[in-house]
C-alpha cells in the first residue's frame, strides 16, 4: 500500500456562537489556513470530502452547497454522512485507489443555528420503537453510563475528574470555547439530567470548522517539511437497536481500534502511543473509550485519571473545546497533529511521535472511528 500523510490543517476557534460568519465564511477561513499550512494553493487539491448531516445543516443535499468555500469549484467532491475521521478514511482510500494525489477533508458545526436541537436529535431515534416514548435524547447516555459504572465499578466521581481535567486543559488551548477551573464538587453538584448523568458531564456544543489536506507519499515529501503519516485507520458500528446493543462497553471503538492497530502493527497501545485524543461527548465516554482502545485495562480508566496517572485529551476534548457534531473527530485529530508536529504550545507533550484520535458519532449512534498518526 502507498503511504499517505496529512500535510496541512486549519481550524477556526470553537465558539458558542459565531453570528458574524456564515457557515460558508467559517469554512473558507479553515480551508485557507489548511492550504497555507500545506504550502499549496486550492488549485493543487484534486478532490474534496466533506462530512455533514442534512438535518444538522438544515439543507437537503447540503453537500451541493460546499464547493465554493473549499476552492472546489468544478472539481470532484463528495460528502460522507459521518464523522471527520471517516472522512479522512475516505480520502485515504481515494489516494490508495490512485485516482488522486492530494485530497482535502472538511467538517464543521453551526450548531448555534439549529433552533430545535432536541427535535433534530430525537429525529435520529427509531420512529416505531423509541420515539413515541418521548424521552430527551440524553436518556441514552444515562442508560449507558449507569450500565458502564455498574459493570466496571467506575464511579461518578471518576467521571467528574474527567470533566475537571478536560475543562482545565482547555484553558491552555486557544481554540477551546469552554475552558474552566472547576472542582469535582462543582460537577457532582450540577443538576441531574438523566441519572447518573449530570449537566456538567455533558459537553456543550460549539460552532467551528476544520479542514485537513491529505497527500500520497511523493506529494507529501515534495510539498511538506513535516508530513504526519496515517499509519492506521479503523471504523465500526454496533447495532442501532437500543434494545439489543452492548450497553457496558463501546464495542464499536474496540473493533475500530483492532482494525487500526492491525494496520499500524501496534501490539501494545499503552506503550507505543504517546498522544491520545478520545471522544468525551459525555464524561464517562472518555473512560469507556480509553478501555475500548486498550489504553488501559477494563475498569481502570477512571481510577488512573483521578490519580493523574494517564492524561489523555490535552486539547480539552469536547468537554473543554465544545462538541462540534461530525467535526468533533476533526478536533481530536487536529490536536494529535499539533502534538506530533511540536506545535501544541503550552500543551506540548515531551514525547509525541505516535498518536491516536478516536471519534464517536454521538447519541443514539454506535459508530466510532480511530486514526493512528505517526512522525514516521
Amino acid at each position: 500500500m502507498k503511504r499517505v500523510a496529512i500535510i496541512g490543517a486549519g481550524s477556526t476557534k470553537h465558539r458558542e456562537r459565531s453570528p458574524e460568519q456564515s457557515y460558508r465564511e467559517m469554512i473558507f477561513e479553515a480551508a485557507r489556513m489548511a492550504y497555507k499550512d500545506a504550502g499549496i494553493s486550492h488549485k493543487e487539491v484534486e478532490s474534496f470530502v466533506t462530512c455533514a448531516e442534512d438535518f444538522t445543516e438544515g439543507y437537503s443535499i447540503a453537500d451541493e452547497y460546499t464547493p465554493d468555500q473549499l476552492g472546489a469549484v468544478l472539481k470532484p467532491m463528495q460528502t460522507v454522512p459521518g464523522d471527520f475521521i471517516q472522512g479522512l478514511a475516505t480520502a485515504y482510500m481515494m489516494i490508495q485507489s490512485g485516482l488522486f494525489r492530494i485530497v482535502a477533508v472538511e467538517a464543521h458545526s453551526k450548531y448555534s443555528n439549529i433552533k430545535t436541537p432536541n427535535e433534530v436529535a430525537a429525529f435520529a431515534f427509531d420512529p416505531v420503537y423509541n420515539r413515541p416514548l418521548g424521552f430527551n435524547p440524553h436518556f441514552v447516555a444515562g442508560l449507558e453510563m449507569n450500565r458502564y459504572l455498574n459493570d466496571t465499578g467506575a464511579t461518578a466521581t471518576q467521571c467528574a475528574a474527567v470533566v475537571v481535567k478536560n475543562r482545565k486543559n482547555a484553558l491552555k488551548n486557544p481554540l477551546a470555547a469552554y475552558g474552566a477551573e472547576l472542582k469535582i464538587s462543582d460537577i457532582e453538584g450540577s443538576e441531574e439530567i438523566s441519572w447518573p448523568l449530570r449537566k456538567a458531564d455533558v459537553s456543550e456544543r460549539a460552532d467551528g470548522s476544520v479542514v485537513m489536506v491529505v497527500a500520497d507519499a511523493d506529494a507529501a515529501r515534495s510539498l511538506s517539511k513535516r508530513p504526519v503519516w496515517i499509519n492506521g485507520l479503523g471504523w465500526a458500528s454496533d447495532t442501532p437497536g437500543l434494545e439489543t446493543r452492548e450497553w457496558g462497553r463501546a464495542v464499536y471503538a474496540e473493533l475500530a481500534a483492532k482494525m487500526a492497530y492491525r494496520m499500524a502493527s501496534i501490539k501494545d497501545p499503552a506503550k507505543e502511543i504517546d498522544v491520545v485524543e478520545v471522544d468525551d461527548e459525555y464524561s464517562y465516554k472518555e473512560l469507556q473509550h480509553l478501555e475500548a482502545l486498550s489504553i488501559c485495562e477494563k475498569g481502570t480508566a477512571g481510577k488512573l485519571i483521578l490519580e493523574g496517572k494517564i492524561a489523555p485529551n490535552t486539547s480539552g476534548g469536547s468537554l473543554g473545546m465544545g462538541h462540534l457534531l461530525e467535526a468533533s473527530g476533526a478536533a481530536r485529530t487536529y490536536e494529535v497533529l499539533m502534538q506530533l508536529r511540536g506545535d501544541a504550545g503550552e500543551r506540548q507533550l515531551k514525547k509525541a511521535d505516535a498518536g491516536l484520535a478516536q471519534s464517536w458519532r454521538g447519541v443514539p449512534t454506535t459508530t466510532g472511528a480511530v486514526i493512528i498518526l505517526g512522525n514516521s
Binding site: 458574524e20 457557515y23 465564511e25 464547493p67 468555500q69 453551526k110 443555528n113 439549529i114 427535535e119 416505531v128
Partner: protein, 172 residues
C-alpha cells in the same frame, strides 16, 4: 390514491383499509427549525435590499463583480475587495412559464402562470445574476436577453429579503 385501479393477485388492498387505519403506518410531524447566520456578505446584501439597492462585491484577483456578494472569491480563493452598488436593471438569462405551484398543485384555470427567471444584473460580471420572477409581462412576449427592471416594495414594506423586489418587469 385509488388502489382498485391496479390489478393485483390475491386479496387486494382496499383504499378504505388505508383510510380507516387497518393498514398500519407511523405518522411523523417533525418540528425542525433553523436560523442561519447570514454572515457579512449575505447580511450586507439583505441590508441593501431593505434600502432598495442591489449590492455586489468585486474580486481584486479576477476583477469579477459578483452578485450576490461574497466575502471570498471561489475561483481566486482569497478575500474579495470593494462593495459595489449595482443597477436594478438587467437582462433575462433564462426563464420558464410555470403552471404549477411549489407543491406541484396546478394553478387554477385562467390564473396567470408563474414566471421564474434568472436575471443577469447590469454592472455585474457576465453570468452573475439573481433568480427572481417576472411581472407586468405577457408570457408570449418574454425573450431570453430581454431587458428588465426591478419593481420594489415600498420602503415601509421592505424587510431585508429577496422578496423586497416584487418582480422584474420588461424595460420598454
Amino acid at each position: 390514491m385509488v388502489l382498485e385501479k391496479f390489478e393485483l393477485k390475491g386479496t387486494g388492498l382496499k383504499s378504505q383499509a388505508v383510510k380507516d387505519g387497518s393498514v398500519l403506518t407511523m405518522p411523523c410531524n417533525p418540528k425542525l427549525q433553523y436560523s442561519w447566520d447570514t454572515g457579512q456578505a449575505v447580511g450586507r446584501y439583505l441590508d441593501g435590499l431593505k434600502e432598495g439597492k442591489l449590492i455586489g462585491k468585486k474580486c481584486g484577483g479576477c476583477n469579477r463583480i459578483m452578485i450576490p456578494p461574497r466575502m471570498f472569491c471561489e475561483l481566486c480563493f482569497k478575500d474579495t475587495g470593494d462593495w459595489v452598488e449595482l443597477e436594478d436593471t438587467g437582462k433575462v438569462n433564462t426563464f420558464s412559464i410555470c403552471h404549477v405551484n411549489w407543491d406541484a398543485s396546478r394553478l387554477p384555470q385562467g390564473a396567470l402562470p408563474h414566471l421564474p427567471a434568472v436575471i443577469e444584473i447590469d454592472g455585474a460580471s457576465e453570468g452573475m445574476g439573481i433568480l427572481h420572477v417576472l411581472g407586468e409581462a405577457d408570457p408570449k412576449e418574454i425573450k431570453i436577453g430581454m431587458k428588465v427592471k426591478a419593481v420594489w416594495k415600498t420602503a415601509n414594506e421592505r424587510a431585508g429579503a429577496i422578496t423586497d423586489i416584487r418582480y422584474f418587469k420588461p424595460l420598454r
